[in-house]
């Protein structure tokens, strides 16, 4: 009996930190969230871009209260093939955003993956305006985001060609060009714009923008459509 108790204690003392993905079946990413300066948060807001989709949620310490960075958590993503996953995080305390950060990686179905997000104080962006990551808000430089005044930047989508920073206007995804007059295109497909907005091509540019609440689907050879 004594021996068993002592052995248990040794195991407990030598065990490493728990694996946040240990109990997850399928693709899972260990997010390691840190900050260069001491930081306590009571909420971590996440905006996740995965497989052409986008979702936002909030996690907070079990039992309430605050937690000091660094923190780890598991991000399980439903994928049917290896795919890029982009994460933007905002550390909040009392409802105020203290710091934001972003990172992305490709997640395989059957291999462990990890992503480190380093949170830093956010820059001032104009709420509702669109920015490429790194231009006044945290994010991937090739992804277009919407500035969210009270929380984590919201991903609009990854730019297929490139994300263009425009000092005097909303940033946008550049299109590949060659849109056909009268055709419908998501922004950044064959014309410039927002990946979650459907445009009509007129003279090579997008007109009559229509925001797609559930995202815009690029369909090669066919008109693009709202999901």
């Amino acid at each position: 009996m004594r021996l068993a108790v002592a052995a248990l204690a040794v195991v407990a003392a030598c065990g490493g930190p728990p694996d946040p993905c240990a109990d997850v079946a399928g693709a899972c990413l260990v997010l390691h969230v840190s900050s260069p300066t001491p930081l306590r948060i009571d909420q971590l807001e996440l905006d996740v871009l995965y497989d052409g989709r986008h979702g936002t949620t909030t996690t907070q310490p079990a039992g309430g209260g605050t937690v000091a960075l660094p923190v780890d958590l598991g991000l399980a993503v439903a994928l049917d093939r290896a795919a890029p996953v982009g994460v933007v995080a905002a550390g909040k305390l009392g409802g105020a955003v203290l710091a934001t950060g972003a990172a992305s990686t490709t997640v395989a179905l059957d291999q462990p993956a990890a992503l480190t997000l380093v949170l830093a104080p956010p820059e001032a962006c104009v709420a509702g305006a669109l920015y490429c990551g790194g231009d006044k808000l945290a994010g991937d430089p090739q992804t277009l985001y919407q500035c969210n005044g009270g929380g984590v930047p919201l991903a609009r989508g990854t730019c297929l060609v490139r994300c263009e920073v425009r000092p005097a206007a909303d940033d946008q995804c550049r299109g590949a060009g060659g849109c056909v007059d009268g055709g419908s295109y998501c922004g950044g497909d064959k014309l410039d714009g927002d990946p979650q907005t459907l445009y009509r091509c007129s003279g090579g540019v997008g007109v009559s923008p229509r925001v797609c609440p559930d995202g815009c689907l690029v369909r090669p050879g066919l008109d693009d459509v709202c999901r």
Binding site: D42, P61, D72, G74, A78, V126
Partner: protein, 179 residues
């Protein structure tokens, strides 16, 4: 678009200022709330309770002071008061307010604590047998010693990060894992 936004924002801001002067009561409540939160984070829970109580009295219709008061009262071991403030927060916050989950957990924690306290059996009379002769004494000494060595080794290295509840993203969006 962004060229249009700053002037528009300025116009809206001026219009808003003209339409509604800042409410001095709400401003004072915010000061007490901020002080209470700062005291909470510094671990000065009695002071936090005093500041947050003032904030709550100034703006009894707002949910946030109740939330912070509940968090503080749990730290002070005052679960009965915390439960009252949790209920008040719930009554004043929106159904989709993400802070509700935290307070639901807090309420459950309080309920468990109450159950534990009420189920503690009365102390039994001690026997005359010396403690060092009890079967568990030396096992406990061993566990404490091993634990102390482990803790010292652990403190010498980097502390592992805390773990937050995980997140799952699928075709219907992202949410906390298991919900």
């Amino acid at each position: 678009m962004r060229m249009v936004v700053p002037p528009l924002v300025a116009v809206l801001a001026v219009a808003r200022l003209a339409a509604a002067e800042p409410d001095p009561v709400e401003a004072a409540a915010q000061v007490h709330l901020d002080r209470g939160i700062a005291a909470y984070q510094a671990g000065d829970f009695p002071r936090a309770r005093a500041e947050l109580t003032t904030a709550r009295e100034l703006v009894p219709h707002k949910p946030n002071p109740y939330r912070w008061l509940a968090l503080t009262e749990v730290q002070l071991g005052d679960c009965p008061r915390a439960q009252v403030d949790i209920d008040a927060f719930m009554a004043r916050s929106a159904d989709d307010d993400p802070r509700r989950a935290e307070l639901v957990r807090l309420r459950e924690l309080c309920a468990r604590r109450a159950a534990v306290v009420s189920s503690v059996p009365p102390p039994r009379r001690s026997t005359a047998r010396p403690i060092t002769r009890r079967w568990w004494f030396w096992s406990a000494v061993g566990v404490v010693a091993v634990g102390a060595v482990g803790a010292a080794a652990y403190a010498a290295g980097d502390a592992p990060p805390a773990t937050l509840p995980g997140v799952t993203c699928d075709g219907s969006g992202c949410r906390l894992t298991g919900r």
